[in-house]
């Protein structure tokens, strides 16, 4: 079955719209998202963007907190390594989240629910594609309940 069909049947079957939280760096990925918008590219509205000054501003606590408060997937998007506005920020992001992603997986969270990607200001297409792919993946995986705070209400 082609991916699109699977996604559509899943979507109907589960009556499930995933919530994807994306932390986007101000200088590259947020501008990339802007470009995707101004170029009128379609991407799913499931993605909620949170703008951060640099991808290394993101604390692993943010990721867990997003899962606690209802996210089905978390995306961290920053400048390509070497292009950081603050010279070295995203190199640190890369090390931190390589380790943290492994740790989450080790503690039983599906690794596809958390993604780190590099999207530059000129890559509106990549942003739209990443958002679409990630959303489809999340529809396949179904709702994330493992880390959700039981007191959380939509």
């Amino acid at each position: 079955m082609p991916v699109e069909e699977t996604v559509n049947t899943q979507r109907e079957k589960n009556n499930f719209e995933p919530l994807l939280v994306a932390f986007c760096c101000n200088w590259c990925s947020y501008a990339g998202a802007d470009l995707a918008g101004t170029s009128r590219m379609n991407y799913p509205e499931n993605i909620k963007i949170i703008r951060v000054p640099c991808s290394c501003r993101i604390n692993p606590g943010f990721v867990l907190r997003a899962f606690q408060k209802g996210a089905d997937g978390v995306l961290i998007a920053g400048c390509h390594p070497g292009d950081c506005h603050y010279m070295t920020g995203n190199y640190h992001t890369r090390r931190r989240f390589t380790v943290f992603k492994e740790l989450l997986n080790y503690m039983g969270i599906e690794e596809d629910r958390f993604k780190v990607d590099w999207i530059s200001a000129s890559e509106g297409r990549k942003f739209a594609d990443t958002a679409t792919e990630f959303t489809n993946k999340l529809i396949e995986l179904g709702p994330a309940r493992k880390l959700r705070d039981s007191r959380w209400k939509q």
């Binding site: 692993p60 606590g61 867990l64 907190r65 899962f67 606690q68 390594p81 070497g82 070295t88 190199y91 640190h92 890369r94 090390r95 931190r96 989240f97 390589t98 380790v99 943290f100 992603k101 492994e102 740790l103 989450l104 997986n105 080790y106 503690m107 039983g108 969270i109 599906e110 690794e111 993604k115 780190v116 493992k146 880390l147 959700r148 705070d149 039981s150 007191r151």
Partner: protein, 299 residues
């Protein structure tokens, strides 16, 4: 053990008479399967010092206490304690100038578990550095020190890694749900050096991140973040697991991070040099991408 104790007392007495203000060592606990840290300031107290099978307590963490700053301290360090000590210097937390260290060639210690069964301490079965070799004074015989093969180091982690993701989650859910959030693991860690902890409890009544609700998501948050804050620093001294009142296998989390960092960033030996940065404070341009483990996608 007895020769180590004798030598400890001798060294402590000599140095207290000379120039040191305080000796940190171990003494007998209330029961014969216990041992507790001893802080000796007077020469007539020196005979309290004793090193027995249960002297697991990592003493390096006491050097962080404010009341011990600017004092001339003599301290006894086993192999694992010395690793922690080096890490503290590495992270610029203590001034080694007024600290006199005596190493102990650790023969491998014992612990009493929750069922009252006495066995070899788990952490000693993984230990790779029982002797603080760089030190001038080492008490105890090097031949008597415990020896493990390097493969023993991450066996538990590898066993857990080979399980399916859902199984792993069930495992951790069962273990972490026991947590009563006493924060003993954090408070005892010799390398947890922040004065105000980001996580709640203890000295900091900060509930921004974790509140007092008994909630699995918060247990998960606490344990993953606690371990992550030690990433690149943890020396697997096993203190956290030792003090845990509900027996959560915390070293399995710590060791996972240690294992990954060793594979990903070929972390060199811990040194005392301040110029050497910890693996998460440093970077290289050709670091692997997130989700890629040792060059191959994670299974």
């Amino acid at each position: 053990m007895e020769t180590i104790t004798k030598q400890m007392r001798k060294l402590a007495r000599e140095s207290l008479e000379n120039r040191l203000d305080l000796i940190i060592g171990w003494e007998e606990g209330r029961f014969d399967w216990q041992s507790k840290p001893a802080f000796i300031t007077e020469t007539n107290e020196v005979d309290r010092l004793s090193f027995n099978d249960y002297s697991l307590k990592n003493l390096a963490g006491y050097l962080l206490k404010d009341k011990f700053k600017n004092k001339n301290i003599g301290i006894f360090l086993k192999g694992c304690d010395y690793q922690a000590f080096k890490q503290l210097i590495n992270y610029n937390q203590i001034n080694p100038d007024n600290i006199q260290i005596w190493g102990i060639a650790c023969p491998g210690l014992k612990e009493k578990d929750f069922n009252g069964i006495i066995s070899e301490a788990e952490r000693c079965q993984r230990c790779q550095n029982p002797i603080p070799e760089e030190l001038e004074t080492i008490i105890g015989k090097a031949e008597a020190a415990i020896q493990n093969s390097p493969e023993d180091k991450y066996q538990e982690v590898k066993a857990l890694e080979s399980m399916a993701t859902a199984k792993r989650f069930d495992y951790w859910k069962e273990k972490l749900s026991d947590c009563i959030r006493c924060y003993a693991c954090r408070n005892t860690c010799p390398l947890c050096e922040c004065k105000t902890c980001m996580l709640a409890g203890g000295d900091s009544n900060n509930d921004d991140w974790i509140d007092s609700a008994k909630e699995f998501s918060q247990d998960f948050f606490f344990h993953s973040i606690r371990a992550f804050h030690q990433a690149g620093r943890c020396v697997d001294c096993g203190e956290c697991e030792e003090v845990c009142p509900v027996d959560i296998p915390l070293t399995k989390i710590n060791n996972k991070i240690r294992h990954d960092i060793e594979i990903l960033y070929d972390q060199s030996e811990i040194t005392e040099e301040e110029s050497v940065k910890g693996p998460l404070l440093d970077f290289r341009e050709d670091d692997p991408e997130p989700g890629i483990k040792g060059g191959t996608p994670n299974a």
